[in-house]
Amino acid sequence: MRFAIVVFPGSNCDRDCHYAANKVLGEKAVFVWHKAKRFPDADCVILPGGFSYGDYLRTGAIARFSPIMKHIVDFAGRGGLVIGICNGFQILLEAGLLPGAMLRNSGLRFICKYVHIKTENASTPFTASCGAGRVLEIPIAHNEGNFYIDGKGLKELEENGQIVFRYCEADGKVTKKANPNGAVSNIAGIVNKRGNVLGMMPHPERASESALGSEDGALIFKSIIDHAGKR
């Protein structure tokens, strides 16, 4: 299968995603410049982490108008898989491909550390290999990870099973203590109604090898690879 990794001015984790998808998991992966005229054939598009446009004005606010986004909206409309990691998640929110918005961490500081997240929905193409309820150890590194959605929106997410990951303790308990940034309902990752667009704050590409501290992130890539293989 083929991953297409979008590169915006300011993206930082594009090469890390390429390494995980290609060197660690053995799949084809190409970079796509945000102004590329043609969109490559791909099974899954990755919007990687970083500081697109310096996070100026609002994180993801300017990237979401990049020429490539039209292609990505079309691609998602056709059912293609899209995963937005950290800044990628923020861009998907600004673009309206996912509901809600991102605020600054409630502690007002950038946080880089390993956290635990619980797989709340293992029926998505991104989490089938994780298993329902499985706790994953994956690092976060962000200043704006405080996911916000209003009461009505939150209810919809819950009813539709769109909440995919929640911050939790090592034993899976979802508690306030385990929430690193104030995100509503400890939400660390969500999927759209259709289930083909995922946004998550933690970085699976940084946790795909034991040398880096955890291999749990690889489960997310493996789910995507398996799903693409079945089609």
Partner: protein, 743 residues
């Protein structure tokens, strides 16, 4: 031909930092009076910051030979390892950070990283060596918060992980904090870039942000002067734009890989003046540049303002004739300015034009040939006296638990987690040792190898004994590197001192440099790059002499990475080295007794090397489960830190076999050198002992890991006994608590 201008007033050139004899020399060189632009150019190129007038001759004594081939570039240095070149350097940004900590630190990070990627290397890591006054002072709290904010603001956005460093707190740094930023980059050894302009007809292209009035004269006015009471010389501080720099990194590396670039240089201190003059000088060529072409952010700038501006995120590129469009297209793709502002000439002249007139015409050799000052040094009065310590006047405290808890919460010793959590230390997916260990370790993908990095310097040691203190800084950095499983390979330094025109201050500088030179030469570790920062003084006086050492090491097999924390219940705890009765210069003496004096602990380079070699060999063979060197706070603190590890798993310890018959407080908290606390499965000890004997390194099993308490015995008597989790809490929350206490 430049128009002749009249004589320049003495007050003007003196205000720019030039002496009468410098001015006379300029007239001799030019054969006439200098124009205002020329005067500005000489004043910055000949300033201490750019010209190193007071330090150049001493720095030549630093060794440049080691196991790996050494690379010395124009603005950075490094080593060659296989097909790769590892480029690294450390630089200071002390005075701007004291004024505006966030932007001062941010632009410090930006500047050092530019020196790395303009060499053609992708920056893969940053470290920072910081010093502040006590956190009991509100301004020092403000500085710490601001500096950390600046480093995270800039470094995180660039996608360069900030993986290590050190932070010290001492009254000496109140009024003049130290912010030393180090960066490491990797390149293919055949793809390195030089910072020179060559080939008549080739183009000079300006790349990056537009030029404003930022930091005008920052070079000769800021860095070459102390902070006076009035702070009238409060010049503008540059604002960093990490997004532009990130784009510059990508565009530069892309452009360098395509070819067509003859040379490239960062516009750092003294901006255009420095880059144009030095590129011409290093390329043995001339440059003709037109300031009208320079992208400007402000109106009505004088030519000398354009030449002296220190606006950030700008570079100068020398491009082969005919390939200009190709190169500029790459920079334009990243939405960066790229403009041809001049060309290389066969004449050895730097010619600057503005509004159709020539405003400067100087031979580059003259600009690069900053005067070398003859310095005088004098041993400070009382420097012998202050090394004497009458320990009999200091009783051993009754309640050592209380002392231990207080010491471990002192900011210099306490956990720096509040700081490093704000740094993205994982981006680029190379970091294999997380913060909370002796050295940061980065893997090199596609190989089994890794790079270890650490910074070290104890300013108090250097104040009490600059020669010995500097040797210890080098030794400790090497020891930290070895504890991670790496072989020390090369050094960069950032030498922070007071006003060198004061003989006593120069004496410290001279002896510190000698200490670095002798220890590096003995260990076979070359000094490949570095920086000197003088005039670190406040009305209270100079800071402690602080020659910060940044060292890198090579791990042959990252599977043999070693980290600080104890790993298993019942592992034995091993002490490499011996503890002597050395209370002098210790953090314990200062924090608990309020005494700042004493002989600095002895350092015997031969012994240090043997012990370090033994530790490293044991790690490489897989005999040790953890290793941590003993430094501030002594053995007890080192054991505690090993109990804590990186905080994810905390183990207690029982230390019940301390043999030395010395004062109890010296045994626990004295800072004797060349000691390492390690742990291993007890069946490994025989092998460890064999290696230690072979190297002639003392080695003792002093206890075992495990349990919920940290207990230390002297004979049968328990002298320290604390629950390890609550000790961890005290240690890890100390800095955060002090910052939040606010007033």
């Amino acid at each position: 031909m430049i128009e002749n201008t009249g004589a320049i007033d003495k007050d003007i050139y003196r205000a720019l930092g030039l002496r009468d004899e410098d001015y006379r020399r300029i007239i001799r060189i030019l054969g006439r009076e200098p124009s205002p632009t020329e005067l500005a150019m000489f004043s910055v190129e000949w300033s201490e910051h750019c010209g190193y007038s007071r330090s150049r001759s001493l720095l030549k004594k630093l060794p440049r030979k080691g196991r790996y081939r050494v690379l010395i570039g124009e603005d950075s240095g490094g080593i060659v390892m296989g097909d790769s070149a590892i480029v690294f350097k450390m630089e200071s940004h002390n005075h701007p950070s004291q004024l505006e900590p966030k932007q001062g630190a941010a632009t410090g990070v930006g500047g050092i990283i530019r020196d790395i990627f303009t060499a053609g290397a992708r920056p893969i890591a940053s470290l920072n060596s910081l010093r502040f006054g006590p956190l009991s002072e509100p301004y020092n709290r403000y500085l710490l918060k601001g500096v950390v904010d600046g480093i995270q603001f800039y470094g995180n956005c660039l996608g360069v992980p900030t993986v290590g460093g050190e932070v010290y707190f001492d009254e000496s740094y109140s009024g003049n904090c130290l912010v030393n930023a180090m960066s490491i980059g990797i390149a293919r050894k055949d793809k390195l870039a030089r910072a020179r302009a060559q080939g008549a007809g080739n183009s000079i292209i300006y790349v990056g942000s537009s030029t404003g009035r930022d930091g005008i004269g920052g070079c000769s006015v800021l860095a070459s002067q102390e902070f006076g009471e009035g702070d009238e010389k409060r010049p503008s501080v540059q604002i960093g734009d990490p997004f532009t720099e990130k784009c510059l990194i990508e565009a530069t590396l892309e452009a360098l890989s395509r070819g067509g670039i003859v040379g490239i240089k960062d516009m750092g201190a003294a901006g255009l003046t420095c880059s144009i003059s030095e590129m011409a000088f290093d390329g043995k060529a001339g440059i003709d540049a037109d300031l009208d072409k320079v992208p400007r952010r402000e109106e009505g700038m004088e030519p000398w303002e354009v030449m002296m501006s220190e606006s950030q995120e700008r570079m100068l590129v020398c491009v082969k004739k005919g390939r200009e469009d190709e190169v500029m297209r790459i920079f334009h793709k990243w939405d960066l300015n790229a403009v041809r502002i001049g060309e290389v000439t066969g004449e050895k002249v730097v010619r600057i034009r503005n509004k159709g007139r020539i405003v400067a015409e100087i031979p580059p050799d003259a600009l690069a040939d900053a005067p070398i000052f003859k310095m005088s040094s004098k041993r400070p009065a009382g420097s012998g006296r202050i090394k004497r310590l009458n320990a009999r006047k200091l009783p051993v405290p009754e309640d050592l638990n209380k002392v231990f808890t207080k010491l471990i919460s002192s900011p210099t010793i306490a956990s720096k987690e509040w700081i490093y959590r704000q740094y993205d230390h994982m981006v680029q997916a190379k970091t294999i040792s997380l913060p909370g260990s002796d050295a940061a370790v980065l893997r090199l993908e596609g190989t089994k190898k890794g790079i270890a990095a650490a910074t070290d310097c104890n300013g108090l040691y250097c104040y009490l004994d600059p020669y010995r203190g500097a040797q210890i800084a080098v030794s400790e950095a090497a020891r930290n590197i070895a504890c991670s499983g790496a072989e020390p390979a090369a050094v960069t330094d950032c030498l922070n001192f007071g006003n060198p025109d004061k003989e006593e201050t120069y004496w410290y500088f001279e002896n510190a440099v000698k200490g670095i030179a002798d220890s590096c030469r003995f260990f076979g570790i070359p000094v490949v790059s570095g920086n000197v920062s003088f005039y670190n003084e406040s009305p209270k006086g100079p800071v402690y002499p602080t020659p910060a050492i940044g060292m890198i090491g090579i791990i042959d097999d990252t599977a043999r990475l070693c980290t600080r924390g104890f790993k298993n219940e019942d592992d034995i705890i091993i002490l490499f080295g011996e503890t002597k009765e050395e209370l002098g210069a210790s953090e314990y003496l200062k924090e608990i007794h309020g005494v700042v004096r004493g002989p600095v602990p002895e350092i015997n380079l031969e012994r240090e090397k043997r012990i370090r070699t033994a530790v490293l060999e044991c790690i490489k063979k897989g005999y040790l489960n953890s290793a941590h060197d003993c430094s501030e706070g002594g053995l007890a603190v080192a054991v505690a830190e090993s109990c804590f590890g990186d905080g994810r798993r905390i183990l207690g310890a029982v230390i019940d076999n301390l043999k030395e018959k010395i004062r109890l407080d010296a045994l626990l908290f004295g800072e004797s050198q060349s000691r390492v606390i390690a742990s291993a499965n007890k069946i490994m000890f025989n092998q460890v002992r064999k290696i230690a004997e072979k190297e002639g390194a003392p080695v003792t099993v002093i206890g075992r890991a495990g349990g919920r308490r940290l207990s230390i015995f002297r004979g049968q008597r328990k002298v320290v006994d604390v629950p390890v989790k609550s000790l961890y809490k005290t240690w890890s929350l100390s800095i955060e608590k002090r910052l939040e206490r606010g007033s």
